[in-house]
Symmetry: C2
Subunit: 374 residues, 2 copies
């Protein structure tokens, strides 16, 4: 396959950092680090599975450029994203030695990026961070924007810091080993970005959902790069999550609640967000913001990607508690992110409780998926 | 005693926060929080001893202004400044509930301020922090500048974050219960600020060291406020510790090493810094930067405050390792902070190793204190 490469400049406050999306980015890792001005040693914190599949390419890419590299593994899976694993990463970093000129390189999915990113944010009060996301979800979402952190028994991401990466390397080739279900869940976040921010991207996605699942290289790299670009723009306007950044929460209010009540082991994050977007579009339609036709378009794209559109069997009342405990809730009032149409977004704090109840009831009883377009 | 109050505005990047120094500041805590725009609930993380002595005054000051307050204790002493205590503080904050509009109030010495500050920096990726230092050292040093963190078995403050407080309340009355030795160690940091940044303050201190140890109210408040102001100015120029902030490390290169090799339980931090300043002044004199007369003035003030001027019995070679491991060391080259005279500072990376050896030898063999001025 032909080499594909797109370079983006992500702004974050007074700084900016490059994000490189392409098919042979791992092999160029060392050259990219040098280009980004990172001259110290590289401390790699890697997801164990990702390392087994793609670690050799990264290692070669770093060593060919003369970098001194040390690496450690963290277990794959969300359960590793806790204070105990973080403590082990601290111990390892201080054992192999780390100075402020060295960088921490996170190699893996969102869990690894969040945890290693938080370690980078806090070791010696902060060392440079390089994000090398190896899942679609992490490439389009977690690696951009500077959010790092770990989970707590009382909830996800309750402990963390904002720490912008110095460089993001998204190797599209690394996605080839992803299970199809995980790939679809990653595309859910891209659908989200398109739905709230970019009607043209939305049209491109809905024109060829099968090609997305088949990872057609040019389309894949283009969609990933555009999604990164969009997220970068939102984050640049609002590094520390005041109002603007909340738009990224589209589909997440209900999505997070679904994940919480199912113990995070029934739905993948992107699947829960897909159901949340179906819920949000129904809210938007009932609020008179979104036309039935546009709602159908969104839901059809979600279904065409093989993503779930409902969560039958859950109790609507159970979903309320985690929604109110969300760390973005202010004094128990929910802000809903709604999409009045592809590429449009609105924040609403006036959604009636009864309407939310009705939507939750629908999501938890419906077993029909929207029709898949032919 | 007459009420004394001084208000300062500390700049930190694009923000600024007030520091209030005075004799009845705890009683006004609620009014000051309101004035600083903090309207949420107050989560107090308190040093156990400080709370027993002065907690009632703080609690009254907050409750009279209508604040909802919850409090927890951490054990007194540096050994509590670790990941285990931090984990307990996280658990407590999430149990009593914390939202982004609530604040964490650190009530105690530097250990409490650093640990509670780090919890505030990282819970929900950051909530507002109020520093209420109750020791002299914390009032003039730790509470200003936004450094927060915890220790690791491999070294002090190796894990942490920059998180500027929204408000600092320094109640001079709280110092009345401090042991005289701890008071003297606190004044060591004030001597440091004067020596590198303010010749007039230095002259004021050396004119009446006994009044400092007797806590003469007007002098005490004036010296504390000036020291806070000076530190605030340095930090404002360099929030994230590049070159400028390094001046604050005067006396700390050797001081930290002395603390490290003695396991942090022989000298108080300020005492180790005092010895470090004696060492730094000797280096500066030998480098031809500092006149013998000015060196004698500094050392005489240190001695007059009852602070140690040497550390007989330690091995000079043992002091080297922690100096080179300091997180500010860059590729094993030491930057020395030297004072060419009261109110003057110079950063030097050209201090010969042999000269440092000679100074370490002097400090570890000398048992003479400089003469106390009559």
């Amino acid at each position: 396959m032909a080499a594909v490469e797109r370079r983006l400049e992500i702004r974050a406050g007074s700084h900016a950092y490059p994000a490189v999306v392409g098919s042979n980015v791992l092999e160029q890792a060392g050259a990219e680090l040098a280009r980004a001005g990172l001259r110290g040693r590289v401390r790699v914190v890697a997801d164990e599975l990702a390392w087994r599949c793609h670690g050799a390419r990264l290692l070669e890419g770093l060593q060919v450029a003369g970098y001194a590299v040390a690496f450690t593994f963290i277990p794959s899976g969300e359960t590793a994203k806790n204070l105990a694993t973080l403590s082990e990463v601290y111990d390892w970093l201080l054992k192999v030695g780390v100075e402020r000129g060295d960088c921490v390189l996170a190699f893996g999915g969102g869990v690894c990026g969040d945890l290693a990113g938080f370690a980078a944010a806090t070791i010696l009060r902060g060392v440079p961070l390089v994000q090398v996301p190896t899942t679609l979800l992490a490439q389009v979402d977690a690696s951009i924007g500077g959010k790092t952190g770990i989970d707590h028994p009382r909830g996800k991401n309750l402990i963390g810091a904002f720490h912008q990466p110095r460089l993001v390397l998204a190797d599209v080739g690394a996605l080839a080993t992803l299970p199809r279900r995980e790939l679809a869940a990653g595309w859910a976040e891209v659908v989200k970005m398109a739905m709230i921010l970019d009607a043209a991207l939305f049209a491109e996605l809905e024109a060829q959902p099968a090609a997305l699942l088949d990872m057609e290289p040019a389309l894949t790299a283009r969609a990933i790069a555009r999604s990164i670009e969009l997220k970068g723009q939102v984050v640049a306007e609002d590094e520390r999550e005041a109002e603007r950044r909340m738009v990224l929460n589209y589909g997440h209010t209900i999505g997070h609640a679904i994940e919480a009540v199912t113990g995070y082991d029934v739905f993948l994050h992107g699947e829960a967000v897909a159901i949340g977007m179906v819920g949000a579009s129904l809210l938007a339609e009932r609020m008179g913001l979104l036309s039935p036709a546009d709602r159908a378009r969104q839901d059809a794209l979600i279904a065409a990607l093989g993503l779930p559109c409902s969560c039958p069997g859950l109790r609507p009342e159970a979903l309320w508690m985690p929604m109110l405990q969300d760390k973005k809730a202010r004094s128990h009032r929910l802000t809903w992110v709604l999409a009045p149409g592809p590429g449009q977004v609105a924040l609403r704090r006036d959604v009636p409780t009864s309407l939310v109840d009705a939507v939750l009831h629908y999501l938890t009883t419906s077993t029909e998926s929207p029709p898949v377009p032919v």
